[in-house]
Symmetry: C2
Subunit: 145 residues, 2 copies
DNA sequence: CTTGACAACAAGAATCATTCCTATATAATA
DNA sequence: TATTATATAGGAATGATTCTTGTTGTCAAG
């Protein structure tokens, strides 16, 4: 069964990092995997609750911090109001629209300037690139007015 | 007098943006100008209090939001615990050390990839680049151990 | 210079995302 | 299956930021 294979993969992924396998952790992992984009903590909480109604919000935060510290997920802090998390995938950056507050995934990796491993003698482990402005859709709306 | 000139410059700078000139705003502006790097809201609050002991923290937040929305200062959100502000100067990015929590100004502008004005049809007004890792000093300390 | 309208301010309460605390439940291991 | 350490649920605590209200100050017109 395919579904079993996926579960096995997730479990192995956790075990490799010495993360104890729990139903809550599997649900958080699956939620992030299924959507393949950034989700807010509350969105993750609600998705996990669908399968595990008694889960606690504090647990979601603890699991996400654990995953982040183990390099499984990346925290997106483009909007100071809310925190987002996403699977650690290919390098990309985020664009926040001042108007509609939507966050778009954008990719500047082709410019290769994000591949540097150090600057001024400081060792770079991670990079977050946040772009701000007016998105395509909101520009169109404004043009029509 | 030089000091008067500086004050006049700040006042003109505010008037150009239709920002009403008040003692509190002048103090916030001077604090940021004098240090020429990012300051936390609390640091700004304390510096303003030296000259105006009755100033309120809420006022500092309001002034910084006003300055930010008028493009006079830039908000630095590299550390989710604290907010920083700095004068809108030359383009640069920030580096947060995981160990000592210091924030360093770094400059990747020579790579020219931060000069793009749009991506995927979204109009770019601002860019924040946050680098994370271990700084020069902490690397040295670890090597000695 | 005085005055009036309206914005800015001080003080402190309220908000809300996130973290902390503790007793209970559960996963991993022998 | 028993043991031990860790994870979780539930709820309280934290703390940066925002909001509210009555007062004060700015600035422009007279």
């Amino acid at each position: 069964m395919i579904k079993t294979d996926v579960l096995l993969n997730i479990k192995n992924c956790l075990k490799e990092k010495d993360i104890k396998v729990t139903p809550q952790r599997l649900e958080v992992y699956k939620a992030l995997m299924n959507y393949d984009t950034h989700l807010s903590v509350e969105e993750i909480f609600n998705k996990v609750r669908e399968n595990n109604p008694s889960v606690s919000l504090g647990t979601i935060y603890a699991i996400l911090a654990n995953f982040r510290d183990n390099g499984l997920v990346k925290e997106v802090k483009i909007d100071s109001e809310r925190s987002f998390f996403e699977m650690q995938r290919d390098t990309h950056q985020h664009f926040l629209c001042y108007d509609c507050k939507n966050i778009y995934d954008v990719d500047f990796s082709k410019f290769s300037c994000f591949e540097h491993k150090s600057i001024d003698g400081h060792k770079i482990d991670d990079f977050h690139g946040y772009f701000y402005g007016i998105c395509k859709n909101c520009s169109k709306k404004k043009a029509k007015q």
